[in-house]
Symmetry: C2
Subunit: 238 residues, 2 copies
């Protein structure tokens, strides 16, 4: 869909980009060099689809910087966010779950930077690189767990608890410590939160307003800061 930049337009990628990331951490410099030389690097604006649900899974990606929202779009045009992926994780790994096309759309939540490789290299990576397969399946497992938890939450909890849980998950996964609390590290609207918790932006807005009055959170346009995580935990477990 979008044409990757020619590799030559970018400075040679440095080994340190990958060497500390779990799927590659057991590899030596030489192996990482080979991997990097096969990679395409690209910057994405915020709000762009890296790949689309249903499209043939031609490449897999390593998110180096930014945040990605994995969304599914229903026949009636509603969006449902399945998960958020922070920098340092693989995405578009359809092959790891035996799929030939992407099962969901990956949208950048912020400006992002990702490496990608053609999918035909996948089997080689799995076979040749120690730890790559293991870490990949762990990633799949973590995402399965998260989806599982979402199902349980949606099945058993009220809207208020679901929103509280979603906020807690977001600050755990992508929180940034600031002066008087923890802030979600990417722009997130009431609409986004509602798509993550199966409710409406109105209800999310009302909840955040109420919580702000009680001093548990502070928010401005596209930014949410949690000041009292413990109070949220209490709320989420009623």
């Amino acid at each position: 869909m979008d044409k990757p930049l020619a590799k030559s337009t970018l400075p040679r990628l440095d080994e340190s980009l990958l060497s500390h990331l779990p799927p590659f951490s057991r590899l030596d410099r030489r192996q990482i060099r080979v991997i990097l030389d096969q990679a395409t690097s690209r910057r994405y604006d915020a709000g762009i689809a890296i790949f689309d649900e249903g499209a043939p899974a031609e490449r897999f990606y390593m998110l180096l910087d930014g945040y990605v929202r994995v969304v599914r779009i229903t026949s009636t045009g509603e969006q449902v966010t399945a998960l958020h992926i922070p920098a340092g994780q693989l995405l578009g790994i359809a092959k790891a779950i035996g799929k030939a096309s992407y099962p969901a759309t990956a949208m950048t939540a912020t400006e992002s930077l990702a490496l990608s490789w053609p999918m035909h290299l996948w089997d080689g990576f799995v076979a040749d690189y120690d730890g790559f397969a293991t870490e990949t399946y762990k990633t799949v497992g973590d995402r399965v767990s998260e989806m599982n938890n979402r199902i349980v939450e949606m099945a058993t909890q009220q809207v208020e608890q679901r929103v509280a849980n979603a906020l807690l998950r977001l600050i755990n996964q992508t929180g940034r410590k600031v002066s008087d609390g923890i802030e979600i590290d990417f722009p997130i609207t009431r609409q986004d939160l509602s798509e993550l918790t199966a409710t409406t932006l109105h209800t999310v807005s009302r909840l955040l307003s109420a919580w702000e009055k009680q001093g548990m959170v502070q928010s401005k346009r596209k930014r949410i800061k949690v000041c009292d995580p413990h109070a949220l935990v209490v709320l989420s477990q009623i």
Copy 2:
């Protein structure tokens, strides 16, 4: 937890048990013989936990006969059904998603029969048996897709649509053609259906009564037969 029967109490297992099942279908008789000789066979009554959420994943299973419900239990004791597994599929494959313990409980929905192997054989199976890994990851992928669909459904659909969808999924996966419709092939209560669709048994009962009046379904105690699948499809897609 439950002690498997000693292998010697059962007649020698026949190769035809496995030879047509996807994870083993590319193997020759000799390989299947080796696999069977390492397997433990066991019968389970209906309503029994084959393994429990959180327990160390010591064995993996192939369901030969019956149906298994994969459930999660919340801190408040509510059950949520994640998926149903029909005969012919692997279960308890925590290793395939990088887990050392089972992420959910597997309960038999009917009397069932399963083979199992100690988990330490897993890596050998993946390495030695052609197609085993591929088929396993496909199974994982299918389950991920199904969970994904459940999330989207729960996020966007009304109770009526969710129940209709659940019924359609059940007759697709586990339906048995009978005289004037398709019947779900295992006993399923209103309560079970409500745990699958995040609602109450009362609401499910009301819906089924209404649908029965319209001739779309017929049901008796623990049995549901869909007479007009197309009408359900229409209902589910409003």
